[in-house]
């Protein structure tokens, strides 16, 4: 199983966790991002996720490398789903395994913040009465200010 993946298949946090963990680990932090039924006052019906797949996989791998640099000994798996997702389904799962809980929590939080900054994936929100492409950050993986912002959130 690839540790960085973009897939139209349903995500499986348990499988990714068992792929990643080893006897030296004392902690696993997992994050699942879910499709929410409301956004900015709108009633959300479903989301469609689109990706520039080869670059999205590279960007996820880059984020995993960044976490290795900041929290040595921590291992990460990040899978992002694309296509149509219903309310309550997981759009992204992150698994961070480490000897100690502090590093696992921090690496997991850092990864989701960086995903929102630099991974070329887009949400197309279908809500009651219409649809809209959501747009967040202008992706720039070299932007040190953005990296530092994610790091501060991770360590808050």
């Amino acid at each position: 199983m690839a540790l960085a993946a973009v897939t139209s298949e349903r995500l499986n946090v348990e499988a990714l966790t068992s792929e990643l963990t080893m006897g030296t680990d004392g902690a696993v932090a997992t994050f699942s991002g879910l499709v929410r039924n409301h956004n900015q006052g709108r009633t959300v019906l479903f989301l469609e996720y689109e990706a520039y797949e080869p670059l999205a996989v590279r960007a996820l791998a880059r984020i995993i490398d960044e976490t290795h640099g900041r929290w040595p000994g921590t291992r990460l798996g990040v899978h992002h789903r694309i296509g149509r997702l219903e309310i309550g389904e997981a759009s992204v799962v992150i698994v961070a395994a480490s000897a100690h809980r502090g590093d696992a929590f921090a690496a997991c939080r850092y990864a989701i913040e960086r995903i929102k900054q630099i991974v070329p994936i887009w949400k197309h929100e279908h809500f009651e009465g219409g649809d809209v492409w959501l747009e967040g950050a202008t992706a720039d993986p070299e932007d040190e200010t953005a990296k530092l912002h994610a790091f501060k959130i991770a360590c808050a």
Binding site: Y52, P54, L55, K116, I121, W122, E135
Partner: protein
């Protein structure tokens, strides 16, 4: 030279296609490809200051050189997670 242009999300909707092949006079950069594209589809100019660019599926800069056969992708602000 011939380049493949990839567009995503709302940029793709505005252009009406996610993949375009265009002849661009060389020497070209990502910026000259964008200029040529927006001359053809002015609605895309809305993204002039917020887009990111990738050449051959690697993040790049607008000043980067583009070669014959390259794939140039213009990316609106991302919203994964």
């Amino acid at each position: 030279m011939r380049v493949t242009i990839r567009l995503f999300a709302r940029l793709r909707d505005l252009a009406g296609a996610g993949e375009l092949t265009r002849e661009i006079p060389g020497p070209a950069t990502a910026r000259t490809v964008w200029a040529s594209l927006t001359a053809e589809i002015p609605a895309l100019l809305e993204y002039e200051r917020t887009l990111s660019v990738a050449v051959n599926a690697e993040y790049s800069r607008m000043a980067a050189a583009v070669q014959d056969g390259d794939e140039v992708a213009f990316l609106p602000p991302v919203s994964g997670g």
